[in-house]
Symmetry: none
Subunit: 192 residues, 4 copies
DNA sequence: TATGAATGAGGGTTCATTCAT
DNA sequence: TATGAATGAACCCTCATTCAT
């Protein structure tokens, strides 16, 4: 946000850093990742990183923001679909499509939530907000389907995704995600 | 199990360290926990830790073993119950009873699986095995209930637990676990 | 004085920087002050500072010069007074009037002399010269008062001021300066 | 204090570090001194320093304590003298004897007070306390001499010392201290 | 076995200075 | 001249691991 007007600087360097942070932090975890790792991934000299982000935490925050952003854009696409059931199934579809990545590193938001919870800073709240956004959206879909227990169903769906992501990752088996995706699809159909 | 032959050494010091490791690692996460933390929690002098565990990884392994052990003993208790449905519901019950702890630190095994996956060592495989044991047991119950899709159902149940643990922890809301527990109970009933 | 020929450049920017340096360095000390601090205080872009001053040392030098300048102008005012005793008492007066600032940050010249002595560069000599100027002027006053021990008395007076500045600052008590000012006034009266 | 009982450790390492800190910080100033400098001066491996002092600030505090300690012992010696005038003159004597060191680095306590004042931490208060001790002791001597203005005189004497230390250091001229010492001796004699 | 102490390899961060425009 | 950005050397501090007794 802050530097968006400046034209002099290598364009999008801040964004490049945020994107690199999002990727590397997902792959290696927050604690295992050094600022030098992120700098290298973004092809930015180490010292220069601090021009854009004053602390490692701010880089983590930026990575979370990046995930939030891609979540919002995904939701934007899903909202194009007319029927709420189809929106939810499209969401499932996206998850299943990402199963290889998930098998390797887990759900980006979920692993971060898990790891950041162990720390004193407020970053865990930032991740919580991201998940909340998705939760709210899913709830709306169930509501649109006429379910009065929409909240509970939304929690169940997100939990199912987070849980299968963890198993997919732990066993490094993308098929787990695929199978659970099909099961959840049937479950959604059964709710109408 | 390990070292059961050596009787000479200070009784249970190794076990005390393993137990302390299990607890502290759950509370703080692997990366955030120093050997000194564990030594202090076990009331063992720092230097002495290395007599029992040559590396930090071995301590982590011992903590995983401790979790495996308590899982086995839990399974032992559950197996007393005659009906597989009741066994599964008792399992659910245990999860719900632990919801406060889960809200604070997540599922011990799940958070470790998530964190250890980011590391190069083979510790992630150790956690995977622990989860595998539970998975297999749940599968057996579904099989005993006459379900041919027992594996898929087992995966779904464990995933649901792992996922709701993560949400419970992220939002620090034990009620999430309670509600999902009730929902899963109904789901199990519906499978007969 | 310096650069008075160049008229083209943004008027007084160099002076603004020197003045800002003098103030901020007094408030924060040389080591605690970054070039960015001075740039901000002078409302000059960081990079631009280096157009006027090639190194931090040169900025410090400029700050010292600024203090020298204000010392010279003060002496100019004092010299208007006809009697040397009155000139010295007016000097005391000025010190006492600044006691609040001194309580907060000490004597600008004294604290710099103290800090710069610890460094390898020749800046300590620059501060020494400033103090020398004052010392010489005070000596002249005592000489005009007919004292043959004028040098010793001058040293004593400046030392008393530097010392009480340090105590005033250390204990953050401006009253110390006020009381010592009165005492020194009586002392001067006693010398005639 | 804390480690005084332990016999295993290289005896007095903590003290060696504190002494080295006191010396090096006096010579180079707080900001100019790195922990590595102190470690080298004490012949202690860098990392090991942190076993005894958790932060640089604690090392500075230890150095201040060392100065306080030597002040106390000096006072102990002076108190042996029967007459308060002689005690004060002996104090002066000690200052004059140290004039070479003072010319090179200033008064250890004074320069620290000056430098630490610029920092946010509470270390300045620690130095203030040290000076306070000396101030109180000097005041007692003047009181014993029957002076009702003992506090003011004490402040004046300490200020004179601090000030002449600064000048002695700034001009690197130990004779300044010597001359002022003689002058203050006469002054004390004149007060009886 | 037990224990305080020692070691050293990183990691995060700061900042004077330089660069490119 | 003006300016945001880039660079890299240093510094403080942590911690797994080893040592000496």
């Amino acid at each position: 946000m802050t530097h968006s007007k400046s034209v002099r600087q290598s364009p999008g360097k801040r964004e490049r850093l945020a994107a690199a942070a999002a990727q590397v932090l997902h792959e290696q975890g927050v604690e295992q990742t050094t600022i030098a790792d992120i700098a290298r991934a973004a092809d930015v000299p180490l010292g220069n990183v601090y021009y854009y982000f004053k602390t490692k935490d701010q880089l983590v925050e930026a990575a979370i923001d990046a995930h939030a952003q891609s979540l919002r854009s995904m939701i934007g696409v899903l909202d194009e679909l007319p029927a709420p059931q189809d929106r939810l199934k499209a969401l499932l579809n996206g998850w299943v499509e990402q199963r290889e990545l998930t098998a390797r590193h887990g759900c980006p938001t979920g692993t971060m939530a898990s790891e950041l919870d162990k720390r004193a800073d407020g970053l865990d709240q930032s991740v919580a907000k991201v998940i909340q956004v998705l939760l709210d959206w899913v709830e709306q879909q169930f509501q649109a389907m006429g379910r009065s227990d929409s909240r509970e169903l939304a929690v169940a769906l997100i939990a199912a995704y987070q849980g299968i992501s963890l198993l997919t990752n732990t066993f490094r088996d993308p098929d787990l995600m695929a199978a659970e995706g099909r099961r959840l699809e049937r479950w959604i159909d059964s709710l109408t």
